[in-house]
Amino acid sequence: MADEKVFVLAELDEGGGLSKLTLELMGLGARLASETGGELDAVLLGEDVGASAAELATLGASLVSAADHPSLGKYNPDPYLEVLVRLLEPQDAFTLLAGHTPMGQDLAPRLAFALEAGLVTDCVAVEPGQQAGGPVFVKPVFGGNALASNVIKTPRRLATVRARVGSAPESAASGGEFVALEAPTAEPPIRSLGRTTEDRGVKLEDCRVVVAGGRGMGGAEGFGALEELAGLLGGAVGASRPPCDSGWIPASAQVGITGTIVAPDIYFAVAISGSSQHLSGMSESGKIIAINQDPEAYIFKVSDYGAVGDWKQVLPALTEALKHHIS
């Protein structure tokens, strides 16, 4: 596996700059590349991406391949796939890292099957693996009840990687070259008829404090009490899946293996039992504080602090008492 290239598939955030996860992938990619002695390249698709492509060159990319075209402005799988297959088809052996984001989850499997490349999704660690004959890709299976270490046996390897697995390169490099990729030509079979979105406000994954509620909150009103505590601490409100399914709070609040993955300094789990699917999305948090009426609830086993009781009593008293300390 000497001289094998490592590719990072870059992504932009809502503001139009490189996403934080992309920076982390550049750091991770550099580590893998130094192990194989190959070079680190970045790939970016979109519209008006010149500035971000230039930034990638300062983040350690030897070569930045960018496709800049109006048809790539909003993610549409088939045009993206066409451009990437054209770039990667001539490469016999490489490792490509993408974010485990909505785009990464949609695109990486398509690319894997198009290139007959092995893919490991949702990686929580990627270790350079000399002995294994290639990197080792670690991912949760069985809803987070186990972590599987995998090797990819094909010479082309793909992975989607979670946030905070890599860390952004520390020093800026320079000297990366650029190449413009050809725009897609095929008429895409999938046509977008429009998006219906609402402003999420603060992003859960960026908050230092998350106050999350579960099924035991009993309804939308309960989330008002969580909102108050979150407001006091400058944090955001999250949830396990049932409150989102019941419409007590928007789906974007869902924390877990199929929701947002968070690791704030402080995570409150209120009336949440601690299913492995939920834990898989927050167990890396700094301090975990659980409030639950069931003293046997599993959440206490994975928390740093616990209070037993009905949240209707515990939460207002907690918030009130904290006000004295915080203001």
Binding site: D106, S252, S275, D304, V308
Partner: protein
């Protein structure tokens, strides 16, 4: 029959089972499941629900729903229940080598695609991912192998005039997209739970056509061990030493928690 829908339904150990029902066997690198019944993968149930809604919207006799499951040995009870919710027939592929934990996504998609090639299909529905592998590759893989368009994470699926219209879940809302049939759609839980079948329907489902295939029937060759190989398996280390604040009432517990968090400089 106007429209043929195939729903891929995987049987998995109940993913909502308590954490201690899943243990790790280092030697075999397998998760061992204790005392949990097999269930239909929840996202595949969502896919089946989507199919039934399309069938209801189209009216009598217009839509045929075929369920497709593959595995080492499939639970009859789970299959009958799924059939009874509103499907029309069941195709199964069973065999010793089809142990779910031994197959990677590539192999699974390849085998399922070769079954589907032998069936009539306009729309293939799968769940967005399986609850055991958490991989999310098989649906897209099947579409890639069949060479049909694929749309992922649907919260709504409608068919009209040779097109499928899908609402795709986005982090901050949804996107409506349209693709020509035949197409594949992976379905997410936002679509809603699968309905419960009536008891009478479960009895009646026994009479519905069921076709069981083996690997040789579908010319399925297991590509040795697939493209991805598991090297190791570990239990997650999540447990922490928990400081429990003692109190007689909830209010006291709340206050005691605040004091403790302050004293420990957490807040």
């Amino acid at each position: 029959m106007g429209l043929n829908i195939i729903v891929c339904l995987k049987l998995v150990p109940d993913p909502e089972g308590p954490a201690d029902s899943f243990t790790v066997d280092q030697a075999s690198r397998r998760v061992v499941v204790h005392g949990l019944p097999p269930v239909a993968n929840p996202y595949d149930e969502n896919a089946l629900e989507a199919a039934i809604r399309i069938k209801e919207a189209a009216g009598d006799g217009e839509v045929k729903i075929t369920l497709l499951s593959m595995g080492r040995s499939l639970s009859k009870a789970v299959m009958l229940k799924a059939l009874a919710t509103g499907a029309d027939e069941y195709v199964t592929v069973e065999g010793e080598q089809l142990e779910a934990q031994e197959l990677d996504s590539y192999t699974t998609a390849t085998l399922l695609a070769s079954v589907i090639r032998g069936l009539d299909y306009d729309l293939v529905l799968t769940g967005r991912q399986a609850a055991d592998t958490n991989s999310g590759q098989v649906g897209l893989g099947i579409a890639g192998l069949l060479g049909i368009p694929a749309v992922t994470v649907a919260q709504k699926v409608e068919v009209s005039g040779g097109m499928v219209r899908v609402e795709r879940v986005l982090p901050d809302g949804f996107e409506t997209v349209e693709a020509p049939l035949p197409a594949l759609v992976t379905v997410s839980h936002e679509i809603g739970d699968l309905r419960y079948p009536a008891l009478a329907a479960i009895k009646a489902a026994k009479q519905l056509p069921q076709k069981s295939l083996s690997l040789s029937d579908i010319n399925g060759e297991l590509a040795s061990t697939g493209l991805v190989e598991r090297m190791g398996l570990a239990a997650p280390s999540r447990e922490r030493a928990c400081v429990m604040v003692g109190a007689d009432t909830g209010e006291e517990a709340g206050r005691a928690l605040a004091e403790r968090l302050h004293a420990d400089r957490v807040l």
